[in-house]
């Protein structure tokens, strides 16, 4: 699958040709560098590894092992490296991959990002439980309670996977069937219809 690593900039809305106002997410994807090419013979599968963004220059930020890895590709240390399996791009080590190499306006793509962290949340927000639903009729301070979590002496335990309160967000989320609305090549921007997981400035992968 072909893809590119980018940065989520934020959202805006534009009018399309039909005069409809559509909301889009702006993704900045400066040309990625090919830092490794894996092939069937040497690695057992074919893939290319793309790297995006400049790593912080401070000493010790990039380990010697990684430094050597980037030196091999003839590039500076990067912030994020991601592998794309079965990539059809004809690129070799050290080449750059730009938006226009992969995407065209109107393409259907999928976006992968890390969703915003929500902290410790109850079941109503985390799993869309409905809560108790009644403030009166004997209810007291359990408006958003989960209710029963199982039977009593048999099975005498809470079954695994029971949905309860806990940490929410910060997961890898894929959104499929998004459309590329516009490509602004001079600033390496992709406008994608709809929302993309993650906060502003977070790293997102756009795949086709």
């Amino acid at each position: 699958m072909n893809g590119i690593i980018g940065k989520k900039i934020g959202m805006t809305s534009i009018f399309n040709e039909d005069g409809r106002n559509i909301s889009c997410t702006i993704v900045e994807a400066a040309p990625n560098v090919v830092t490794q090419v894996k092939s069937e013979d040497t690695d057992g599968y074919s893939a290319i590894q793309l790297s995006h963004g400049e790593a912080k220059a401070k000493k010790g930020r990039t380990s010697k092992a990684l430094q050597g890895h980037f030196d091999k590709a003839g590039t500076t240390p990067k912030r994020k490296s991601i592998e794309f399996r079965d990539c059809t791009l004809d690129k070799s080590l050290g080449d750059t991959v730009a938006i226009s190499d992969i995407f065209e306006e109107g393409d259907i793509v999928r976006a992968i990002g890390k969703s915003k962290g929500k902290g410790f949340q109850g079941v109503v927000k985390r799993y869309n439980f409905r809560g108790v639903g009644d403030a009166t009729h004997g209810q007291h301070n359990r408006l958003r309670a989960p209710g029963s979590i199982g039977a009593a002496s048999y099975p005498a335990k809470v079954v695994k996977g029971m949905r309860m309160a806990g940490r929410m967000g910060g997961d890898r989320v894929t959104v499929k069937n998004l459309q590329v609305v516009r490509i602004l090549e001079d600033k390496n921007l992709l406008l994608i219809k709809g929302a993309i997981p993650g906060h502003k400035g977070s790293i997102v992968v756009i795949e086709k």
Binding site: T12, F15, R182
Partner: protein, 119 residues
């Protein structure tokens, strides 16, 4: 933020509309696409309010249609607006003319702003 601004500017076409204010009587020509047919609908009424800024700036036009008040909200940036003709300049003392919604008949009439040339 700058990149958002840049992208928004790149993707929007500036609509050149005449300046008008709340209280003005305008005729909006709006392009309507039905299947593959296209026609222009005219909508005439008083501007009730102008709100928002940038791409989301809109204006509301109110008219009486068969005794029923009708309000339509148009985005300034909409490419479907063909033109806006200002027919009358109204004399009003507020930016939002919500009070017109309560009034009918002669009371809902807006006085015209007269321009007297200084000699």
């Amino acid at each position: 933020m700058d990149l958002i601004k840049y992208a928004t500017e790149q993707c929007s076409v500036a609509n050149e509309l005449p300046t008008f204010r709340p209280g003005d009587n305008v005729n909006v020509s709006y392009r309507i696409v039905e299947g593959d047919k296209e026609r222009i609908q005219k909508y005439r009424g008083d501007v009730l309010q102008i709100k928002g800024h940038g791409l989301t700036k809109t204006f509301t036009v109110r008219k009486m249609s068969n005794g029923v008040g009708v309000e339509r909200i148009f985005p300034f940036a909409s490419p479907n607006i063909v033109s806006v003709d200002v027919l009358k300049r109204g004399k009003v003392r507020r930016a939002k003319l919500y009070y017109l919604r309560e009034l009918v008949g002669k009371k809902a009439k807006i006085k015209e702003r007269k321009f007297i040339s200084k000699k």
